[in-house]
């Protein structure tokens, strides 16, 4: 469970870029996060993936109160959170394959397991041909897909994606959203910050809307009940889980 209560956030000694944020994401929910450029979407996500501490308020991430969690237990919690960064943050000296494999490697997975799951996922996002390419030689959309693959490779309990479809065309964006929905169906809580209005219209998930650092009702769609979801699209495929092989919902076809 994710819960924000009266959260404020500032960078350094600057003004508060987030103010009085309160909301709750149920386990297994799927939300969009919208707002104008500079409204604070990325900042809110930074709080969720534990890159920043709030200046006030209470944050609970996956049932952990992040104000009291000791530093040495942070890595464990972070391994349950997958992040797609707005600027990708791929390691420039590692290949596409190695970048995607990184979370598994840090988790101590064996190279056989790594090879199997990473190849499968690269295939899914359409990067099989670029497996051995360095990020510098990837196109914008290819980088973005590699970043997405890295975020989902370890089947996180919480997936946080910042503008994950800004560099791909609409067809590919829809395909990537299917990937997130598949993950969501297996129990992952998903929050996606996006500017893409056609995506939000197509995938009827509830929307959190930020305006100038505060949560306000979305002009596109007020927050709707959790169960009101679009049915899974026909070409969504499952992929197997390298880290939690017995995760709920597992057992689909393998690509």
């Amino acid at each position: 469970m994710i819960r924000f209560e009266n959260v404020g956030m500032r960078y350094g000694a600057g003004p508060e870029v987030l103010r009085d944020i309160s909301f709750e994401l149920k386990p297994g929910s799927f939300h969009f996060l919208t707002g104008a450029s500079g409204a604070g979407k990325s900042s809110l996500l930074r709080l969720m993936y534990l890159a920043h501490r709030p200046s006030r308020g209470l944050i609970t991430i996956l049932d952990e109160d992040i104000a009291t969690i000791p530093r040495n237990r942070l890595p464990e919690l972070r391994r349950k959170i997958g992040v797609v960064f707005q600027d990708f943050r791929l390691m420039s000296h590692l290949t596409c394959f190695e970048n995607v494999a990184l979370p598994l490697k840090i988790n101590g997975a064996g190279s056989g397991v790594i090879k199997k799951y990473v190849s499968e996922l690269l295939n899914w996002v359409g990067l099989a041909d670029q497996a051995n390419a360095r990020p510098a030689t990837l196109s914008g959309g290819q980088k973005q897909r590699a970043a997405i693959a890295r975020a989902v490779i370890s089947r996180p309990k919480l997936l946080v994606a910042d503008e994950p479809t800004g560099n791909v065309d609409d067809a590919l964006a829809v395909r990537l959203l299917f990937l997130f929905e598949e993950l969501n169906r297996q129990g992952t809580t998903v929050l996606i910050a996006t500017h893409n209005e056609s995506l939000i219209r197509r995938f009827r998930h509830p929307v959190l809307h930020l305006e100038d650092g505060q949560l306000v009702p979305s002009p596109l769609r007020p927050i709707v009940p959790l169960r009101d979801r679009a049915p899974p699209p026909p070409d969504s495929r499952r992929f197997s889980d390298p880290i939690y092989p017995d995760a709920p919902g597992e057992g689909g076809r393998h690509g």
């Binding site: 890595p75 190695e98 990184l102």
Partner: protein, 296 residues
């Protein structure tokens, strides 16, 4: 494939690429300075061995020109007294012939000093490392007959030791500066690496890497750089020392003993890269661990 390479491209950033060179240079300088100090120590020992470790005792001839028997008895007593002294290895009465040979240049080649009333000299060799109580010996000899004097070549020895000590001090100062510089440079290089890779480090943190996982990569990198640099630098210094020794020998130097290192001294020189490696790795570890806990 992902196993062979570190996650952070540490070998790539400028600071890391410089580190082996820096450590190599410092190892070179430190090893050279240390070798210098050691060579000087051995050299000064050997040189002053010709001056120290020996004494000359001079027994003046008797005032009465004809007291041959008394003079000989006095010589024997003095010799016995010297031999009894702790720390004396041997003592010999210089034969009259040698005395005359010594005197010859002063008297002219044609002169025959056979009938002169010459003082007698006792050549004393001291045991290595022993300190002889010269004051006490002097008192005892004085008691036998006034006028017996001890010459311990003190001035020369003092000059030489002072000079050598000054040189060695300079060499050791260089070694100390190198150790300090090594710490400073490793701190800077490591901070540089942390700065250059702060985004990679943040990313590793955010996907769940422990501090020790990240610190290990820095430590390994520094260890590698220090080993490379330390060995290369010390090797070059050793080569320089050997070459200088050969060069000095080739110019036909008449130095008392060549400018070469003893085997034991080489062991000391070998401690230079080891010390540098230890200093570098510990410094890097400390710097990284301090920095990491302050990051997300």
């Amino acid at each position: 494939m992902a196993k062979r390479r570190g996650d952070i491209p540490l070998g790539n950033d400028p600071a890391s690429r410089l580190l082996p060179w820096i450590i190599g240079f410092m190892a070179f300088i430190a090893a050279l300075a240390l070798s210098g100090a050691l060579v000087l120590a051995a050299f000064s020992d050997r040189w002053s061995a010709g001056l120290t470790g020996t004494l000359t005792i001079q027994i003046p001839p008797p005032a009465a020109y004809d007291d041959e028997a008394g003079f000989e008895a006095l010589q024997k007593e003095a010799l016995a007294a010297v031999r009894r002294t702790p720390g004396v290895a041997s003592a010999t009465l210089l034969p009259l012939d040698e005395m005359r040979a010594l005197l010859k240049p002063w008297l002219g080649a044609g002169a025959d000093p056979r009938d002169l009333p010459l003082p007698r000299l006792i050549a004393v060799t001291l045991e290595a490392g022993e300190d002889v109580d010269l004051a006490d010996l002097g008192r005892r000899l004085e008691a036998l007959a006034p006028g017996i004097t001890i010459d311990d070549h003190g001035l020369w020895r003092e000059r030489l030791t002072d000079f050598m000590a000054a040189l060695q001090l300079a060499a050791l100062a260089v070694v100390a500066v190198v150790a300090l510089a090594a710490v400073v440079m490793v701190i800077f290089a490591t901070r540089g690496g942390l700065l250059a890779h702060r985004e990679s480090i943040e990313l590793l943190h955010l996907i769940g890497a422990h501090d020790r996982y990240i610190a290990a990569q820095f430590q390994g990198q520094t260890l590698f750089a220090a080993i490379k640099g330390g060995i290369a630098g010390t090797g070059m210094a050793a080569g320089t020392v050997v070459l200088l020794g050969h060069g000095a020998a080739a110019t036909g130097a008449v130095l008392p003993g060549a400018l070469v290192l003893e085997p034991m001294a080489w062991l000391w020189v070998m401690t230079v890269p080891m010390a540098l490696i230890v200093i570098a790795v510990l410094t890097a570890r400390r710097t990284v661990v301090n920095a990491l806990v302050r990051m997300v």
